[in-house]
Amino acid sequence: MNYLMTHIRIVTAFVIREIATRYGRSPGGYVWALLEPVAFIGLMSLLLGSLGRLPALGTSFTLFYATGYLAFSMYKNMEGYLASAVSGNKALMSYPKVSPFDAVAGRFILQAMTSCVVAFVILYAATWTTNQPITIQWNYIVEATAFAWIMALGVALGNTVLFFKFPLYQKIFDIVMRPLFLLSGVFYVPSHMPHPFSDILLANPITQVVVLFREGFYVQHGDTGLDMPFLITTSAGLLFVGMLLFTVFPVARARE
């Protein structure tokens, strides 16, 4: 119990520290965590919306784009932020009390809270851009978010070890993951794509997250390509492998 309280305290300290340091010297500080995605999505939907065509689902391009982008960033932002949690706080591991997982847990909590606020603000605004009534089904949204975060945690924990051991792998990972945004169904509906592309796209677990997230906003008829068993096994598998690597190789305290 005492042990648990200590780590809750340390994780809290990390959250407070990250809020103060994440945006370094830029004026406004942590407000940028909210402003950045809001501005980006706003700009993108303005640009794409001005092309004048109807989105693949519903009538609002803003809502269609926002749901896709937010679902994708639930994974991507979390993974990117967590992957540097240990390396970015390496000096703090010299405090015997601090364990590497505290740094990861602190960033996880902060990113989760930030993502939720960002999603609420953007989606609330986006629902005003459509004249159709929307029935929001929270269970899909919550599930999609949970899967995105679990996969991000697993990948980041594993990469913490692998990036440290194999610097070349980090370069390769960055290059390979760059097209992920295009391949995750953010601005199209994967099941509308011609065969066999639809199957290839749907084999990407992040695409599945986006599809599941959109189920919470759109009533769709026909097969959306959603594959829950695949999503569950992939998330659990990534988390398991990530935690295993992170536990077996204590890189955070290895000497350089």
């Binding site: 405090y95 009390k97 204590p250 305290r253």
Partner: protein, 219 residues
Amino acid sequence: MIRLERATKEVRMKGVRKMIIDDVTVTFPRGKSIGLLGRNGAGKSTLLQIIAGTLELDRGRIIRQGKISWPLGFQGSFQGNLSGEQNVRFVARIYGVDTDELVAYVAEFAELGQFYHAPVRTYSSGMKARLAFGVSMGINFDYYLVDEITAVGDTNFKRKSQQTFKEKLSNSDVIMVSHSTGTLRDYCQTGIVLENGQMTYYDDINEAIAVHESNMKRH
């Protein structure tokens, strides 16, 4: 009390392996300050990290009873964009001590004046060292780990820090690595010599120093 039981640690640096301790069982009794002696590269600093808990043993185990400090004067954790005060608050939160109390203590001890509220990146190295020493003194530990004590600040500050540290040692012990035998005699009553992966405990620091010096002559 700190106790190593059949402890083994090997470090690998750029492909070179070095056995730091090999199947060592030793007890650091509470109530006596200990000086760690050994030749350059014997692994004294590594041993301090093992005692602190920031490095894991390969085999065997370590039992720690009591609160053990980070290396005295450690300043690597200070975040340049945070003020001295914010950095102190972070340490206070980690160690579960009253934040306001520690902030006030360090403010008085480190004598940083207005700089206390300025980002640490604007500090001189002396100011940073004073801040670090102040934080170390502001939290009560059972064991203070010292890797080469370095005096910081002007004469007055040196005298003050020395006095404060000596006062601390009436209730706490120090585990110290130093190349200066004078410093070791000054702070420690007992000693441990680290040589060829073995640790030998001596009740009297003077004896430990004598053994260490004869070791050094042999090679």
